[in-house]
């Protein structure tokens, strides 16, 4: 049985003003799998990721053609509501960016926006989200402490828990470990591997993509060069540009 894709991008082109950042991207991202986007700086992988939850809406002069279908709906269609989309498609950023609030209030931010008010319901959400992010045992006794008091890796997992509290269908991760030390990175990677979510992760680190993802897409100069199961892409790439990149000839 073949599952329907979590995300399908159809001939997506994207412009920052006059600059074309993405050229005719066609990509089907599998449900419940981990998909890595790799490529050198400025190749368009982060831009593509941010298109998936409409975080590029804030960029002045941003233009798009093509469509991105998530859950049967075109994210950029006339009926689409960016607020609704961002609740279903969560995001974790490059640098841990907890709010200057307590751990508890960080996790509750999303649920409170959708109108959850009852303390018991919020307590439950917080515990579930922190357990899912493998952080519960570390922080259960200091939920009312500021999130800034945690280590970088713990802060990043607070951000993951904060996104999970809305029970998103898809989680986007934009180089989530690039600001973390190796031990914290290992913990976040461990979490990614055991989660059963559809995850799209942008990474600068090819070893990381090889370690954790099922499928890998290689972007270069705004184009999608190759998209294949991770093992295939790293052992027998079809394109010479992919091979040159993964063997370290450029990038």
């Amino acid at each position: 049985m073949v599952k329907p894709p979590a995300i399908s991008a159809r001939s997506v082109s994207f412009y920052y003003g006059e600059f074309q950042a993405l050229r005719d991207i066609n990509l089907e991202i599998a449900k419940d799998e981990i998909t890595a986007l790799i490529g050198p700086s400025g190749c368009g992988k982060s831009t593509f990721l941010k298109l998936l939850n409409r975080m590029n809406d804030f960029v002045p002069g941003a233009r798009l053609s093509g469509e991105i279908i998530i859950g049967g709906v075109n994210v950029y269609g006339p009926q689409a509501d960016p607020v609704e989309i961002r609740r279903k498609v969560g995001m974790v950023f490059q640098k841990p960016n907890p709010f200057p609030k307590s751990i508890y209030d960080n996790i509750c931010y999303g649920p409170r926006l959708v109108g959850v008010k009852k303390k018991s319901a919020l307590d439950e959400v917080v515990e579930k989200a922190l357990k899912a992010a493998a952080l519960w045992d570390d922080v259960k006794d200091k939920l009312n402490k500021s999130a800034f008091e945690l280590s970088g890796g713990q802060q990043q997992r607070v951000c993951i828990a904060r996104a999970l509290a809305l029970e998103p269908d898809i989680l986007l991760m934009d180089e989530p470990t690039s600001a973390l030390d190796p031990i914290a990175t290992a913990k976040v990677e461990e979490w990614i591997k055991q989660s059963k979510l559809s995850i799209v992760i942008v990474t600068h680190n090819m070893q990381q993509a090889a370690r954790i993802s099922h499928g890998t897409a290689f972007f270069y100069m705004g184009e999608l060069i190759e998209f294949a199961p991770t093992l295939t892409l790293f052992t027998s790439p079809k394109e010479s540009r992919t091979e040159n990149y993964i063997t370290g000839r450029f990038g």
């Binding site: 607020v83 640098k95 960016n97 907890p98 709010f99 200057p100 609030k101 931010y109 926006l113 904060r162």
Partner: protein, 327 residues
């Protein structure tokens, strides 16, 4: 051995190390300063001492002159602090002079509070517009204009209050004089708006972009993001802006001297004339005999003003520090 300025050199432990060629001793690294650099350091130190020293001397002088009022001497009975601040009988030039400054303090407080009340919504609104609504180009145009507005001499604003606002108020409201609490507060508010707006805009812009992104990514609308993330983060800075605006209104002299009306009374309505501390000082100092009781009373008013504005500035400083600590 020659080094250029500022290069870190090892100043200690060379001796003991030279025997065996190495040493386990821990070295302290220090820059080696040239005579010119030492000289300029001394110069800056003297500048700092001069600036702080004159501040200190002004304080000493102020309190020394003021203290005479509260110390009993032959021919001049001591005034208690309670009578000075709590009684409403400022008759400094009567043969049997009394110095109850309550009406003057009330004048200062009412003008400062009401002008802050007027200036705060406009100032904060302007700041919100500049940092959240305006396009990059408009912000770059408006921000320097707002800051330029803060440098308009207060006497010019006072002229506007006298020549434009006062006749208008008098006619429109059919009141005996347009030179009153309301007029002074409006003019002071105009003066305080740039201060409040500029400081508040700094506070709003200092809210990191990444936590705003986090809010949007969790499905918050623009309004929810302003309300739940930007405002709480900027709160300390916004409060600082308002308090400094209040301090400015409290210490401002020329405007209140020109347009507040100058009647030493406790105001009953917004359209009563008042006489703030600053205006009293400016108007009466010229006629007070040096060293006399009137003179001492004016210095005591100055000391009250000094302590109040100092308290406001300390509060603002404390708030802005706490705010920085939170982020």
């Amino acid at each position: 051995m020659k080094e250029s300025n500022g290069v870190h050199t090892i100043n200690q432990g060379l001796e003991s190390g030279s025997k065996a060629g190495y040493s386990n001793k821990i070295f302290t690294l220090r820059p080696r300063l040239s005579p010119a650099e030492k000289g300029s350091r001394l110069f800056f130190l003297i500048c700092a001492i001069l600036a702080m020293g004159q501040m200190f001397l002004i304080m000493v002088f102020l309190f020394k002159e003021a203290s005479g009022l509260f110390i009993s001497k032959p021919g001049s009975p001591a005034l208690s602090l309670v009578d000075f601040l709590g009684r409403n009988d400022w008759y400094p030039t009567y043969p049997d002079a009394t110095f109850g400054a309550l009406a003057l303090v009330a004048g200062s407080i009412s003008v400062a509070l009401f002008s802050t009340f007027l200036a705060t919504p406009v100032g904060l609104g302007l700041a919100a517009y500049l940092s959240c609504v305006a396009s990059q180009r408009r912000r770059e145009l408006f921000k320097p204009m707002v800051e330029l507005l803060a440098s308009v001499p207060s006497v010019i604003l006072g002229l506007v209050g006298m020549a434009v606002l006062a006749p208008f108020l008098q006619q429109a409201l059919n009141i005996p004089t347009g030179l009153n609490l309301f007029n002074a507060s409006v003019i002071l508010a105009i003066m305080a708006i740039p201060t409040i707006a500029s400081l508040a805009e700094d506070a709003l812009s200092a809210v990191p972009r990444d936590i705003q992104d986090a809010s949007y990514a969790l499905g918050a609308t623009c309004w929810e993001t302003i309300w739940r993330v930007i405002l709480p983060s900027a709160m300390g800075g916004l409060a600082t802006a308002v308090i400094l605006g209040l301090g400015r209104a409290l210490g401002e002299t020329m405007v209140v001297l020109m347009v507040a009306g100058g009647a030493a009374q406790i105001p009953n309505s917004l359209f009563d004339s008042v006489r703030p501390l600053t205006a009293t000082l400016a108007a009466e100092m010229g006629e007070a005999a040096i060293g006399g009781r009137h003179y001492q009373a004016l210095f005591a008013l100055g000391a009250v003003l000094f302590l109040t504005t100092l308290a406001f500035n300390l509060l603002a400083w404390h708030l802005s520090r706490r705010w920085r600590g939170a982020r």
